[in-house]
Amino acid sequence: MSYCVNCGVELDDSVKSCALCSTPVINPNVSVSPEDAVDPFPARMVIPAGVRRRYAAFIASMVFLIPNIVCLVINLLLNFGYLWAIYLNATSAIIWLLFVFPFLLRKPKSYIIIPVDAIGVILYTAVFYSIQHGEGWLFKLAIPLILVVFTFVFSVVEWIKYKRRDWPILVTSILIQVSVLSFAIELLFRYYYSLRLLPVVSIIVFACCLALIAFFISVKSNKRLRAWLSRKFFI
């Protein structure tokens, strides 16, 4: 019979440390070693099967697929003069890619889902570009814009996932990335419309972000301010 020197409770013969405080059990007088003693709880663990997420995603895919095929067949059989079903097919495909595809993966990973989504959005835009016979906006503006936005999303997601951080740090980093994103977007638009490559709107965004960043850094370092904020603005 052993007692925890820290908590004062009696411990089972099978344990090597206290279940309440993890203090190791060292008792040379016990007659049964922890290995020989019967554990009060079994070792067998049963993890029940999860939701049939992939099955549900498969059913949803079929639900998407059937009306699309029907519309395409009707469009091809009854000649309306143009391929209207392509709008439905492309829109269904992008919705499927964004909202159903992640659930089909055994282990959804952001480094797979986000690039695939980016490619999907580019292809979706390309469909409309080819139908409307666009004049260069796809390669000069749309694709770079999509890539910039998805890079931003990817970096934010990875930054959040990387480590659990204090919330002022998290907000500060997102604000930095927002100002970088605004610069990139403005430069792309200026390049496309052949304007001088000077940031104007993004400077305003940057100034706002800078003020907020300064505020959140002071929140991070000033405990009194933080306490005041949580007192005043709790929900």
């Binding site: 908590c7 409770v9 009696e10 411990l11 009060p40 070792a43 067998r44 949580s230 007192r231």
Partner: protein, 423 residues
């Protein structure tokens, strides 16, 4: 021509549980009896087949209707008897386990039943598992007469045991208001899905009884107050926004209304303290809990609370809503308000009354509240002989709540033995 299928409605309390069910969590609890010999699974299987016919309200599977779920006689005989698991009270799926909503486990000398709350409450589970343990001992050659929690399996179930007593007792015109307000919830590192940390504390029943009596309290009041105080202290040390701390104490209505049902028939009290009112000592918290419980624990208030709970099943509008919408609304409601108003739960089944012939063969009995969604530790207690067993089911890795609770009991002079599934 096949005989007509036997079916019955879920009781009033049970109607909300299927809606709360998710792929990761079910409202489930455990009742166990430890005997003086190692369990033979074959014999336990036979005992289960003998016992289950006496409990037709558990020999069921859950079926979907257009407006409500209902129970239908399960044609599969009995659930399988399985070796126990280190992660009890994991979620229920209505088509698993041969359609049964309870699971029977064995480990060394212990028989355990995990019960889905839609089926019954702690008292009903205690009747079933104690009767099962008695039948097992009978098959081992011990003569046991029906008494207390051991029912006579040679006679069929009485109609009064199968009725939904909420409908009879919820006839008060008085109404009680139940405000849902967000209270303190302990934080920690969450355990992986479907796992839970269990800490079992075995205390001398006479010791805890004498200790509670020295404060003029019952065991339920004393432990409820201690849990409240432990959470109050923890919140103060965390130096975060001070919210109210509340303890939920379920109460069986069987004695109050003189009902002998085997289905759900319980309500809960919610007792809170507000740290913004000032500093509390344990004695003050205990006095608050005692006064509150003694004030509210009367037949009239309980009847009014029962009537308020009947709204879901009696309102013509709610009855006409299709099941899938009800399920969605109940699930959403539970997500938003479910455990928001509760910091900790303590359910006490009291002293389990067993036949005298069984006494020498029983080591201990225990009730374990299933893991919560927000509550760090949910607590169940019951006693037999001179052992009072308190079980904590904790969804967090950290064990500070259990440690604070049990060390306080040690400081008050009680002997506490700790067993846990923490490796």
């Amino acid at each position: 021509m096949s005989p007509p299928k036997i079916w019955f409605k879920l009781d009033n309390a049970a109607t909300i549980f299927p809606g709360q069910n998710t792929s990761r969590w079910s409202n489930i609890f455990r009742f166990s009896v430890a005997i003086d010999r190692k369990i033979d699974p074959e014999l336990l299987g036979k005992a289960l087949q003998n016992v289950i016919v006496r409990f037709p309200c558990y020999d069921v599977r859950l079926r979907y209707g257009l407006f409500w779920y209902y129970f239908e006689k399960n044609p599969n005989g009995a659930p399988p008897v399985e070796p126990d698991v280190v992660n009890p009270c994991h979620r229920v799926k209505f088509k698993e386990n041969r359609g049964y909503l309870f699971r029977i486990y064995y480990y060394e000398n212990r028989i355990s039943g995990d019960f889905y709350h839609a089926l019954t409450d702690g008292m009903g589970a205690a009747y079933f598992v104690c009767t099962l343990a008695a039948e097992y001992l009978r098959l081992c050659g011990v003569e046991i007469k029906p008494f207390g929690y051991v029912l006579d399996i040679t006679v069929p179930a009485k109609q009064s045991e199968l009725d939904d007593p909420y409908l009879k007792c919820g006839n008060s015109k008085g109404r009680v208001s139940r405000k849902i307000q967000r209270v303190y919830h302990a934080l920690g590192t969450k355990m992986p899905a479907h796992t839970v940390n269990i800490t079992r504390g075995i205390i001398p029943l006479d010791g805890i009884h004498a200790l509670a009596k020295s404060y003029g309290a019952t065991i339920t009041e004393f432990i409820g107050a201690l849990l409240l105080f432990v959470h109050y202290e923890k919140q103060r040390e965390e130096k975060r926004k001070q919210r109210k701390v509340s303890v939920q104490i379920p109460v069986s209505l069987r004695k109050v209304f003189g009902v002998e049902t085997l289905r759900n028939f319980s309500l809960y009290y919610l007792i809170d303290i507000d740290p913004l009112m000032g500093e509390y000592t344990f004695e003050e918290v205990l006095r608050h809990v005692m006064l509150y419980l003694r004030d509210i624990n009367n037949e009239k208030t309980l009847r009014a609370m029962t009537s308020a709970n009947l709204k879901l099943t009696t309102s013509p509008f709610m009855r006409a809503v299709p099941l899938f919408i009800k399920d969605f609304a109940i699930g959403l409601g539970f997500l938003l308000t479910g455990e928001q108003a509760t910091s900790v739960l303590f359910t006490n089944l009291g002293k389990i009354n067993l036949p005298p012939e069984m006494h020498e063969h029983i080591d201990f009995v225990e009730v374990m509240a299933g893991p919560g969604k927000l509550n760090a530790a949910r607590c169940g207690g019951c006693g037999f002989g001179n052992k009072f067993v308190i079980d904590f089911a904790n969804i967090y890795v950290e064990s500070d709540i259990e440690r604070r609770f049990f060390t306080k009991l040690v400081q008050m002079g009680l002997h506490v033995k700790i067993e846990s599934n923490r490796r």
